[in-house]
């Protein structure tokens, strides 16, 4: 095995050669591994939050406590469904970029971004609405409820920022660096979408 038979990132000068390098490598790039490990840490973080949620729940007689209404069901479920669907355009963007179809990749990313931003705006609206009805300072239920949802929305916001950054960078062409960034961002969004399902399940669990 010599260096002549493997792709070399100094040679990636055009979109086509960057896409070729991404297709020729056998293992996943360093950036993907970095994101995978980061996601593992984030998953553990949310695992801890879910653990704390149910720990507190099973130590309390009333969950939610008297005076706090049970969580609304319809709006969070619909929103979560919409967010999960954005995994499709995000994956499409990566698919197109790997074939050096830059225009298609940008379009898919814009579609995803619009839907995700809409989701985020609606979630913030619901969050503020909840704050009018009960407070995180009132009970352990309120504390863990708002912490959990806040943590999740922070992750959605980070994903939106990643999308924006990618769009700005892809405007001036494709490099192996950007392609790996897109691959990592795709991974991140799939994770956030799975997380959305788990968060909404925990959020609605008092209804069960």
């Amino acid at each position: 095995m010599t260096e002549r038979s493997v792709p070399r990132s100094v040679e990636a000068t055009t979109a086509a050669s960057a896409a070729r390098i991404a297709r020729e490598r056998v293992a996943r790039p360093n950036g993907w591994w970095g994101m995978a490990v980061f996601v593992a840490a984030e998953a553990t973080l949310f695992g801890t939050i879910f653990g704390a949620y149910f720990y507190l729940r099973f130590h309390d007689l009333h969950w939610p406590p008297p005076g706090v209404e049970e969580p609304k069901v319809v709006a969070p479920l619909i929103l979560t469904g919409v967010l999960v669907l954005t995994s499709v355009p995000v994956q499409l963007a990566l698919f197109s970029a790997r074939r050096a179809r830059l225009g298609a990749a940008r379009l898919a990313l814009i579609v995803a971004l619009v839907v995700q931003a809409g989701y985020f705006a609606m979630q913030i609206h619901l969050y503020l609405d909840d704050l009018h009805h009960f407070s995180p300072q009132g009970s352990a239920y309120g504390s863990i409820y708002f912490t959990m949802l806040g943590a999740h929305q922070a992750h959605v916001l980070v994903g939106i920022l990643l999308d924006l950054w990618l769009l700005v960078r892809l405007a001036s062409g494709l490099t192996t660096y950007r392609l790996t960034a897109l691959q990592a961002t795709t991974f991140y969004w799939h994770f956030v979408n799975v997380l959305a399902v788990l968060v909404v399940a925990a959020q609605l669990s008092p209804r069960l």
Partner: protein, 635 residues
């Protein structure tokens, strides 16, 4: 390969690598460096300074407790000094020393890479670590140090009982420290998975790297629990949330669960790199490969894994249900299996080889001794009734100091001697080194062994003084004398190394005839580590003379020299087959800018300037974008 005799063609290639990998000279070079060796040295000197601070705190504690009714420290100061001793030694010394300094310096060299997978993130984790250390110490210097013990139990740590800022320094400082460790661990996993030299399949990877891999995974899965715990604590202390108070539906035991879900894996995070150092030193001086190499590799991973299933044995006295206790007692017993595999492998390698007891191997001998003593007292705690009787006594203090000092720090001291010639290019003084071993060995035994007895006599931990009629005086005095002997031994090591750094005889590339790849390059290694990326066919590549000759010929032919930029190879994850040649980033100012910005977020949170904190979050985002703006290929 050491660059000694070179043909003109090879010489020109080496010169070219020198030019490509050169970093700016002076202070700017250090502030913007992404060279894993320089970052490791930054880690080394910083953690050494914190070790000094933690050591002074230990001596203050021992001076206070030397005799009954001690008056050296007030109770308030004692609480801060005692807490800071624990926090410093664990978060600011041993973990960053083993992972940040030893791991950073050695892992890329051992796997035949030219740098870590994410060189700039490597710099970021150092600057964040430095910031977290300074952050926590500012608390101590303004008299508001953390004061609720290193595990900071609520309700004592709640605002009502601890109204100062000490706990806030602790919680925010540890979150910041956790960011640094998470970045570091991510980097190690990606580096070890992807950066190995061609031919280094996982089964040919040095055991030190297996230990670092196990530690990194343990950090990734353990730290979030501590982070969330500290976030909960700050939300409760600052904003009035309720996680830990029963009156509003919270539960103080939640803190303990989350803390120990982190805290027990943490113990293995502390000792695993020490195991890795031991498995590097032993084969070199026993002059044979490690006995049961695959079993030792698996045992290292298994220790890290089982470490996640035993946390409640720290909580046997909190009134958990009996079934829970029995489960965790059984799980704790299981740790014996991988630990024993390793102890036998170490000792058998020494016995079956032709052991040469130079200073590094002596320290490993001390390590094995202390690990067995501390391990045996550890098994006792898995027995629930014994644990409940001795909880919070000095018996526990004795046990974990045998592990955390004896078993974790001794290999670090041995490792300092062992790799000193590699890092400095000079030899240490062997006679002084042996003397320093016996001094630290005596000091450690004298300090920590009597704690077993005084613990069984009923002395509880964390007390700032004790009355005179309890029969504890002789033991405590011996502990204090031992602590000062130990300190003298450590100072002797420092004197030896500092003197040898300037006056020691030249070491050459491979003074001990070690087996792993770091010994194939010159001492100190050049910026690019290896003029030719080595090709590996066994777990001890430096003992494969023909392979190294082949590397030398490749330099002549210009194969695997990778001199078209900051190039390093990337391999497939399991088999280590050359897969890609990467162009890596060079020195960058953004890691330190980002670290400053993130630290300012925490300073603003501490001083309750929440709007400014949000502004610095914004600045952090902007610096991140700037960081990624210039891509390696655009140079």
């Amino acid at each position: 390969m050491a660059v000694d005799v070179l043909t003109p063609r090879a010489r020109s290639r080496v010169d070219r690598l020198e030019r490509i990998w050169a970093e700016p000279p002076g202070i700017v070079g250090w502030l913007t460096t992404v060279d894993h060796k320089r970052i490791a040295l930054l880690y080394f000197f910083t953690t050494l300074a914190f070790f000094g601070a933690g050591g002074v705190e230990a001596l203050l504690i021992r001076t206070q407790l030397a005799g009954p009714n001690g008056k050296t420290l007030s109770p308030e100061t004692y609480n801060q000094v005692m807490t800071m001793h624990g926090v410093t030694m664990i978060f600011l010394f041993i973990i960053p020393m083993t992972i940040g300094a030893f791991g950073n310096y050695l892992v890329p060299l051992m796997i035949g890479a030219r740098d870590m997978a994410f060189p700039r993130m490597n710099a970021l984790s150092y600057w964040l670590f430095l910031a977290s250390g300074l952050f926590i110490y500012v608390g101590l210097f303004i008299g508001q140090g953390p004061n609720a013990g290193w595990f900071d139990y609520v309700p004592l740590a709640l605002k009502r009982y601890d109204p100062g800022m000490g706990i806030d320094f602790y919680a925010l400082g540890l979150i910041l420290n956790g960011l640094s460790s998470t970045a570091g661990a991510t980097n190690f996993i990606a580096t070890i998975f992807k950066g190995r030299a061609p031919g280094m399949s996982l089964n040919r990877m040095p055991l030190f790297c297996f230990a670092m891999l196990a530690v990194s995974f343990a950090l990734i899965f353990a730290l979030p629990a501590l982070t969330i715990d500290c976030v909960f604590l700050e939300l409760q202390r600052r904003v009035g949330f309720h996680f830990f108070d029963v009156a509003h539906g919270g539960d103080p035991i939640l803190w303990q669960h989350l803390f120990w879900i982190f805290g027990h894996p943490e113990v293995y995070i502390i000792v695993l790199p020490a195991f890795g150092i031991a498995t590097s030193i032993i084969p070199t001086f026993a002059k044979r490969k490690m006995v049961a190499f695959p079993l030792v590799a698996l045992a290292e991973l298994l220790v890290a894994f089982i470490g996640f299933g035993v946390w409640a044995h720290h909580m046997f006295a909190t009134g958990l249900p009996t079934t829970t206790l029995i489960f965790f007692a059984a799980a704790s017993m299981m740790v014996v299996i991988p630990s024993t595999i390793q102890v036998f492998a170490w000792t058998l390698t020494v016995i079956m080889g032709r052991a040469e007891f130079r200073a590094p191997l002596l320290f490993i001998g001390g390590f094995i001794t202390f690990f067995v003593i501390g391990g045996l007292s550890g098994i006792m705690f898995a027995a629930i009734p014994f644990d409940q009787a001795t909880t919070d006594t000095y018996f526990v203090v004795a046990h974990f100091h045998f592990i955390i000092f004896g078993a974790a720090v001794f290999p670090v001291l041995g490792g300092m001697y062992y790799w000193f010639p590699k890092v400095t290019g000079r030899l240490y003084h062997e006679g002084l080194a042996k003397a320093s071993f016996w001094l630290t060995f005596l000091g450690t035994s004298l300090t920590f062994f009597p704690m077993h007895i005084v613990g069984l006599l009923g002395m509880t931990r964390r007390v700032y003084t004790y009355p005179s009629n309890l029969g504890w005086e002789a033991y405590n005095l011996s502990e204090t004398v031992g602590a000062f002997i130990l300190a003298a031994g450590l100072v002797l090591i420092l004197v030896n190394l500092v003197h040898s750094r300037f006056r020691g005889p030249p070491a050459g590339p491979d003074p001990f005839y070690g087996g792993t790849l770091e010994w194939t390059t010159s001492s100190p290694p050049p910026e690019y580590n290896f003029p030719v990326i080595p090709t590996v066919t066994s777990a001890y590549p430096n003992w494969d003379r023909e392979d190294r000759e082949a590397d030398r010929r490749r330099l002549d032919q210009g194969l695997l020299v990778l001199d078209r930029g900051h190039e390093t190879p990337a391999s497939t994850v399991r088999d280590g087959i050359l897969d890609e040649i990467l162009d890596m980033p060079s020195g960058s100012p953004w890691p330190i800018v980002l670290a400053v910005s993130v630290s300012l977020v925490f300073v603003m949170l501490l001083t309750t300037h929440y709007l400014l904190a949000a502004a610095f979050v914004g600045l952090t985002t902007v610096s991140l974008a700037a960081w990624h703006w210039q891509e390696p290929q655009e140079r």
